[in-house]
Structure formats: structure tokens, C-alpha cells
């Protein structure tokens, strides 16, 4: 027995927890890619290295990135939400009506957040009460929420937003730092804290790794998942606030098709779609990586659909690389 127990353990300076060690190297890999893309971009376009241009570029992805944060937690917890973009639309409609009714900015924001939260609650209840796989539930609510938006809005445009509302999606806090971007930074820190520094985060990993064992350890798994769905809904509501303010108007097609690019960000960030693994840092880096790739290609006027080929290939390539490396290594070390 002794000889088994005292096998040499790889105890590095890093916390000796297997998964975090693996993920740290993943993040390093992502960071490296981001640096390479940054370098290539600055070589390829003279317009790239301009603070204002970089700042403008962030508008293209921060709203999605904001949703990616709670969605990462949900996916770590072995669930998924495909309805986020539809929640954004429905929340935007609610804000539009609030604005039309003469509500002030605070109230409008509240309406958006409230509807987002409610949508998250609906998803969460359907998943936890009826024990239906979330991918199926949210395929349904994806149509349902956007459908409701169509019913509510029809072909009208809601655009009576007060002046002060515009700040949220268009204003700057300091120099080139937009309100949206700063908010994303703050949220990233908050979610980093929530996932990596609190009981709640620890439970999220525990459930994602082994829901049964987590349940047997006295964790209320259903409630935890419900809370995460609500959180995703709420933050989608927030993203809706930002997006609506940036566009200055609401239509039912708002944020159409965003769900897949948000999930792509999360997966690219090293969050395992099977649950249990992933970090906020990884997601944040992936967000910037994707943002830089699309902005860089945009400066070269590469059509968006070609970019999507590149993003798709990047997604598969990045996930496949560690697997391939392992295979290759395994082959080399074999006699």
C-alpha cells in the first residue's frame, strides 16, 4: 500500500488542484493566441492601433460578453440557455413600452432587468420542476420569448427613449472607456469573485462535476440551477438595456441569432460544454480574442460570413488542439 500512496505528486507552486492547473495552461494558450492576433492586426492595418478605434471595436461584443459571464457559470453547472437573445428582445420590448409610457431612465432599466429576470425564472422553473433537459426547454422558450416580442411590437418601432437613457449604451466614463466597457469590466470582476471566491461558485463546480454527489452532500441542486437561470435572465436583461440604449430603438428582431455567438465565446473560453470546468478569466480572454479577430478582419473588409468560417474553424481548432497534442504525445512516448 505504502508504495502506492507515496507516489511522487506533481506539486507545483500553483494550487495543486488538477483542473485549475489544466485550465491555467488553457488560458495561457488563449492569451498567446490573443497576443498573436493583436500583433497580426497591428501589422495588417494602420488603423488598428488607435485607442478610439479599439474603443469603438469593443461595442461590437461587450453586450454579448456580458451575457457570456453568467452563461459560463450555467454551462459549468451542466445546463445551457439558448434563449438569451430572445430574452434580450423581450426585455427590450418591455423597456420600449415603459419609455412610451413616459417612464424615466431608472424605471426603464428596471423594466428591462425585471423582464429578463422573469424570463430566466420561466426557464429555470421549467427545467427544475419538470426535470427537462435545458437545451430542449430553451429551444422552445427561444421561439416563445421572441414570439411574444413580435406579438407585443408587431411592426412598430419603440424609440421614445429619454436622452439620459442613451448614456448607458453610448456614453463614456473616462477618455476612451465607454460605460458599457467599464460595466463589463466590473461584471467580469464580480463574476470572477462569484465563481472562484464564493460558496456559490464552489457549489457550481461541484454540481457541474457530479450533480448526484453534490445533491448527496446536501446542496439544493434544483434551487442552485434555478438561481443560475435567473441570473442569466437578469444579465440578459442588462445586456438588453445596453443594446437598446446603443441602438436607441426597439424592434422584435433585436439581437437576432446572438445565442450561438455567445455560446461560442463561452466554449472558446475553455468552459466544458459537459460541465464542471472553465474559468471566468478564460471567457474574458476568449471574448477579446474573438473581438480582435472580427475587428481585425473587419478593418480588412473581409465579409462577415468569411469571418464566421474563421470563427467556426477557430472554435474546433482550439478545442481540438489539446486533444491532438495529447494524442501526438501519447504516440511518441509509446515504445
Amino acid at each position: 500500500m505504502e508504495k502506492i500512496m507515496h507516489k511522487p505528486m506533481a506539486t507545483t507552486g500553483l494550487p495543486a488542484i488538477g483542473w485549475s492547473r489544466r485550465l491555467l495552461s488553457w488560458e495561457f494558450f488563449l492569451l498567446l493566441m490573443t497576443a498573436v492576433v493583436f500583433g497580426l492586426n497591428s501589422l495588417a492595418s494602420p488603423y488598428f492601433l488607435d485607442p478610439w478605434n479599439l474603443s469603438d471595436a469593443t461595442f461590437n461584443f461587450v453586450e454579448k460578453a456580458v451575457v457570456a459571464l453568467p452563461l459560463a457559470m450555467l454551462i459549468i453547472c451542466r445546463e445551457i440557455d439558448l434563449s438569451v437573445a430572445s430574452i434580450i428582445a423581450l426585455a427590450s420590448a418591455a423597456m420600449g413600452f415603459a419609455a412610451q409610457a413616459g417612464a424615466g431612465t431608472e424605471l426603464i432599466v428596471l423594466a428591462g432587468l425585471g423582464v429578463g429576470l422573469l424570463c430566466g425564472l420561466v426557464n429555470g422553473l421549467l427545467v427544475t420542476r419538470f426535470e427537462i433537459p435545458s437545451i430542449v426547454v430553451t429551444i422552445g422558450t427561444m421561439s416563445l420569448f421572441r414570439g411574444l416580442t413580435y406579438i407585443l411590437l408587431g411592426d412598430t418601432v419603440l424609440k421614445d427613449y429619454p436622452e439620459s437613457f442613451a448614456y448607458l449604451g453610448q456614453g463614456y466614463v473616462y477618455w476612451v472607456f465607454s460605460f458599457e466597457f467599464v460595466l463589463f469590466g466590473v461584471l467580469a470582476l464580480l463574476f470572477y469573485g462569484l465563481l472562484h471566491r464564493t460558496n456559490f461558485g464552489r457549489r457550481t463546480y461541484a454540481i457541474g462535476n457530479n450533480p448526484t454527489a453534490a445533491f448527496y452532500s446536501g446542496i439544493n441542486v434544483a434551487r442552485h440551477r434555478l438561481i443560475l437561470f435567473v441570473l442569466v435572465g437578469l444579465v440578459s436583461g442588462l445586456a438588453s438595456v445596453l443594446l437598446t440604449s446603443r441602438l436607441g430603438s426597439t424592434r422584435p428582431t433585436i439581437a437576432l441569432g446572438w445565442e450561438l455567438s455567445i455560446i461560442t465565446m463561452v466554449v472558446l473560453g475553455g468552459v466544458s460544454i459537459m460541465g464542471g470546468a472553465g474559468t471566468i478569466l478564460g471567457v474574458v480572454i476568449a471574448v477579446f480574442l474573438m473581438g480582435l479577430v472580427t475587428f481585425g478582419l473587419g478593418l480588412l473588409n473581409v465579409p462577415g460570413i468569411v469571418m464566421s468560417i474563421i470563427i467556426g474553424a477557430m472554435l474546433i481548432g482550439v478545442i481540438a488542439t489539446p486533444v491532438l497534442l495529447k494524442k501526438f504525445k501519447g504516440r511518441k512516448s509509446a515504445p
Binding site: L126, T141, I273, G312
Partner: protein, 327 residues
């Protein structure tokens, strides 16, 4: 369970009939046999794709790339036809199916050989395939007058009262029934999805079957590429955009379990028909276009809740008296 499952499918069939009758009460013409055939014909492509998707879901995977696959093969076939109008249509169909198969093989190989989760793989290939349509066509359309007469007319030619398009789907259904019941490979797909460990113990290679399922799904998507393009007599980048979700919804409504191992051809076909009838009835009923999406969303949610009841694990039954009840 057998009884219950049949019940569920019968329930679905009854629901579809009720829906048809209801629509018929408002618009009697809807009940004409010719119209019902037309509705079936209109649903054919969805049925074919849903059957391919079912196999993939049975093995605990998902294929998000079917619609993009369809768009790409459709574009290739249409471009081939407009460049070489002399090529016989059956050859083009075969080419489409073959290309679709190839695209499915790419998905399957990534899942099997690299063990990347199917949802990640097909999320990626979905963008890639769709992007390739653009690169290939340079964004241009292939229009009706650029297609040869036979290319456009074959799927609509009526044989024994039914358009060829519908016949193709009937053929696919028959083959799939045979495949899932009478072929070793088909049965092994169920086994692999139901319990991968047990499957491995019995010498069934789960990864290989996932590969097979993806390949078949790809092949059928390729076949549909031609059918779609010729039916609507136009090919462009956005063909069937977002259709993958309808396909998955058809499976889910038809009782295919997203957890794998459960699902039947008849259920899947009924699920597709359910959506098909709704899609065809709403315009006829003059339901406000703004309501249509919410209605189909609500239908999916309700169907899924109903299925979750039927699918609930029975667990072991230790007590004799309880066993009698369940039996």
C-alpha cells in the same frame, strides 16, 4: 412502457388529426385530400432531416449543421446544374447526397476520433459550411431560369398521385423503419445511446456509431439540398437559415429523448408532421403573422413537458405488489 410509448404516439397522431379537423372547420378546403397531400409534401424535407437528426440524437449527440449542410449541397448542385445543364438529375442528386455524406463524415470524425462534444463540433461546422456557400457562390443566387427544366420539375412530377418529393420522403421513412428495426447497425445505435458502458461491454463501439449517425444525417441533408433548391427553384446563401432548430424541435416533439437511446421513426415523423400542419394551417387560418412564432414556441414547450412525464424513469420495482401494478 411499450403501451405508454404507443400511447404517446397515438396521442400525437390524435392531436394532429384534431388540429386538422379544427382548421377544416374554419376552412373546409383544408380537409381536401389534395390539400392534405400538399401539406405532407411540404413537410417532406423536414421529415427527412428529422429522421437523420433522430439517429444523431439517439447516440447522445446533436447535429446543428444540417441546415448549413443543406444550403451548401443545394448550392453546389444548383451551380453544377446551371454550369452543365446536360448532367442528368439523378446524378446530381447522388452528387448532393455524396457531398452531404462527406460533410457529415467531417462532423462524425471530429466527434469520434477527437472526442470533441458534438454540440461544439457542429456549432463550428455550421458556420463553416454556411460560410463556404458564400465563398462558393460569391453571394450570387442561382435562379429559376438558370436551372434546367428537369432539375426543377422532377420533385414536382406526380407519380401515382403523389409528387416525387413526397415519394422520396416515404422512401426514406421506409428505409429508416427497416434500418432502425431490422438492421444490426440501427439497433446498435439504440444500444449505444441507451447505455454506452453496456454497449462497450457488448463490443459495440459507441464512437463509431456516432460517426455512422452523423454520416447518415449528413447524407440525408445532402439529399435535401437538392430537394430544397429545386422545390423553391432558387439557391442562395441563406437557404434554410435557422432550419436546424425546427428539425430538432420535430424530434423532440416526436418523443426522441435528448439524453439518447429513446425515439422511434413513427414518433419522429409525427413530430415533423405536427410542425408541418401548424406551419401550413397558420397562414390558411389567417393567424396574425406576429403570433406564429410564439405559438410554435409554446407548442414545443408544451410537447416537451408532456414527453418528460412519459419518459420519467420508472426505477427498479422491488415490491411484488408494485410490480403487479406496473406490469
Amino acid at each position: 412502457m411499450k403501451k405508454m410509448l404507443q400511447n404517446r404516439e397515438i396521442l400525437l397522431a390524435v392531436l394532429i388529426l384534431a388540429m386538422i379537423l379544427l382548421v377544416g372547420m374554419i376552412t373546409p378546403d383544408f380537409l381536401l385530400p389534395s390539400n392534405l397531400l400538399a401539406v405532407y409534401n411540404d413537410t417532406s424535407i423536414l421529415i427527412i432531416l428529422a429522421l437523420g437528426q433522430m439517429l444523431v440524437i439517439l447516440t447522445r449527440c446533436i447535429d446543428l449543421s444540417v441546415a448549413a449542410n443543406l444550403a451548401l449541397t443545394g448550392m453546389v448542385v444548383a451551380m453544377l446544374n446551371s454550369a452543365y445543364p446536360a448532367l442528368p438529375v439523378p446524378l446530381l442528386m447522388a452528387a448532393g447526397a455524396l457531398l452531404g455524406l462527406l460533410l457529415g463524415i467531417v462532423n462524425g470524425a471530429l466527434v469520434w476520433k477527437l472526442g470533441i462534444p458534438a454540440i461544439v463540433v457542429t456549432l463550428g461546422t455550421m458556420s463553416i459550411y454556411r460560410g463556404l456557400v458564400f465563398l462558393l457562390s460569391d453571394g450570387a443566387w442561382v435562379n429559376a431560369h438558370e436551372m434546367s427544366a428537369s432539375f426543377v420539375s422532377i420533385p414536382r412530377a406526380t407519380v401515382l398521385g403523389l409528387p416525387v418529393l413526397a415519394w422520396v420522403s416515404v422512401l426514406v421513412i421506409v428505409i429508416m423503419v427497416h434500418f432502425t428495426r431490422q438492421r444490426r447497425l440501427g439497433r446498435e445505435i439504440y444500444a449505444a445511446g441507451n447505455n454506452p458502458t453496456a454497449a462497450f461491454y457488448t463490443g459495440i463501439q459507441v464512437g463509431r456509431l456516432q460517426f455512422v449517425a452523423f454520416s447518415i444525417s449528413g447524407l440525408l441533408a445532402g439529399l435535401c439540398g437538392y430537394l430544397w433548391v429545386s422545390r423553391y427553384a432558387v439557391a442562395y446563401v441563406d437557404v434554410a437559415a435557422g432550419f436546424e432548430l425546427q428539425v430538432i424541435a420535430a424530434c423532440v416533439i416526436g418523443g426522441v429523448s435528448i439524453m439518447g437511446g429513446i425515439g422511434t421513426v413513427q414518433g419522429c415523423v409525427l413530430g415533423a408532421l405536427f410542425l408541418g400542419v401548424i406551419n401550413n394551417a397558420l397562414p390558411v387560418l389567417g393567424v396574425s403573422p406576429f403570433w406564429q412564432m410564439a405559438i410554435s414556441g409554446a407548442v414545443i414547450v408544451i410537447a416537451v413537458i408532456a414527453n418528460s412525464r412519459a419518459e420519467r424513469k420508472v426505477g427498479r420495482i422491488i415490491l411484488k405488489k408494485a410490480a403487479l401494478h406496473a406490469g
